[in-house]
Amino acid sequence: MQLENVSLAYPGQNPEHPSLQDITLDIEEGEFVAVVGPSGGGKSSVINLLAGLVAPTGGQILLHGRPLTGPGPDRAVVFQDYSLFPWMTALQNIAFALKQVGGASRERARKLLEVVGLSDAAAKYPSQLSGGMRQRVAIARAFALGAPVYLMDEPFGAVDAKNRIYLQDLLLRLWTEEKQKKTIFLVTHDIDEALYLADRVVVFTPSPGRIRRIIPVPFSRPRHRSHLLRDETYIGLRNDILSLLQAELIEELEAVEGGEGI
């Protein structure tokens, strides 16, 4: 997956502050890339572009060397919210996704629910599930598509800390268990999440949304949270990213407020 000088300005948006400007990024097959940045930094726009929901206003996006034309089941998307259809039960949601890729089978849908530990919730509607359970179903649905690429837009953003850890490990488990490694592109505002999960972390800065730096994560897998938190390199990387984000914020404050209040 390649982004070449991609820009995106929504209609009616100030052309000097597009949502995205000159994004160039190569994502390898089977790679886990995380994007961090402040909210409103255009991170979600990248997901919408890669999903094919919006077309770039400049540059191009290539998937296996071919330009992207629109949404398709070869890229599964998990949103922070709204991924599931509220009028379908957990099982129906997964079965519906399976049907779109021609693999309609109750059995397979049930198995996927079992994998995410929600066999008992099969007949429940999303409104009857907690936020964490909903995201588990959403992840199961995404994996039901069997797509080679996964796009995740703050999938654990609205989930409490305990469930977030569970979901992160679930995601890693599903990702490592697949024979043919999936490509995952995850947007988050949680630096620890990015460093724990990803092979590379892309730091975004806002208005216009730009890539500030791409940081390879050197830790071998499987990673252990407790080890990482005491690791010097980890702490260093974490501080680097934090200061990158803060520097940008400070610059912005200087520009807007004339340096007052800093």
């Binding site: 919408n48 094919g52 998307v77 709204y82 991924s83 259809f85 779109q100 409104s127 796009l151």
Partner: protein, 249 residues
């Protein structure tokens, strides 16, 4: 809950008692214009076969008119709500034609169509169509962007988008429109029957009013009330079932 039920029964009992007092027991009011409840109940029993036949005939018209409206307004509303260009073109038309009181179509429908059955079904159809259509369009337009995006990323086809995503997404609006449509359809049904029918609930009331048989008129009105009550009760249960996914546990 039990308290409410008791209160309701008491209220209805008190009203019946008051009615019986001023009409039957003391004859404070003209008995020709104000029949006592016991007399009305007796008449309902006496005319039960006529009422049954009237209800069946009325329901036949109501069913065809309403079903025709459902079968056209919902698919058209889904398409118009979904296609931005079509919506922009249709919107002014909708705003002009929608608010015309459907009763005014009755004389024209009678002139236009061969039989009373045709013209009343047509008028019921028109009356039920607009609230359903307008609400379906509004419902589609109110489906959250995120839901539609989610469907698009699954690669759903056009028909699937309409039937499995937009239709259920718009359903809360559609069912609200359906209530308005049903009430309007019933009003138009009885109005049409009072004008041109030889059977049906509206006909019953009008027919006996012409003979100044007001006890039977009151009986007819009460039956119509009961029929509407049952009809709306059934509709609301159906609607609640269709929207069971909205409830939180």
């Amino acid at each position: 809950m039990k308290q409410t039920t008791l209160d309701r029964v008491l209220l209805i009992g008190a009203l019946l008692l008051l009615w019986q007092t001023v009409t039957g027991w003391h004859s404070l009011l003209d008995p020709l214009l104000f029949p006592s409840p016991s007399k009305v109940l007796m008449l309902i029993w006496e005319d039960k076969t006529v009422f049954l036949k009237s209800i069946l005939n009325s329901f036949r018209l109501l069913f065809f008119g309403y079903a025709l409206a459902v079968a056209t307004a919902i698919p058209l509303g889904l398409i118009v709500g979904w296609q931005k260009r079509l919506y922009a073109a249709v919107e002014p038309l909708m705003n002009v034609l929608g608010p015309i009181p459907p009763i005014v179509y009755i004389p024209y429908a009678i002139a236009l169509l061969p039989t009373f059955t045709h013209s009343s079904i047509f008028v019921i159809f028109i009356g039920a169509f607009w609230p359903l259509f307008i609400n379906t369009v509004a419902g589609v337009r109110s489906v959250e962007r995120g839901i539609i995006d989610s469907a698009r990323t699954l690669g759903v086809g056009r028909l699937t988008m309409l039937t499995r995503v937009l239709l259920p997404g718009a359903l809360p609006h559609i069912l609200t429109g359906g209530t308005v449509s049903l009430v309007l359809a019933f009003i138009l049904l009885t109005a049409a029957e009072m004008i041109g029918a030889t059977s049906g609930l509206g006909w019953y009331v009008k027919y006996f009013a012409d003979f100044a048989d007001y006890p039977r008129v009151v009986a007819g009105i009460l039956i119509i009330g009961a029929v509407v009550l049952v009809l709306m009760g059934g509709y609301n249960r159906l609607a609640a079932y269709a929207l069971r996914w909205k409830k939180t546990a």
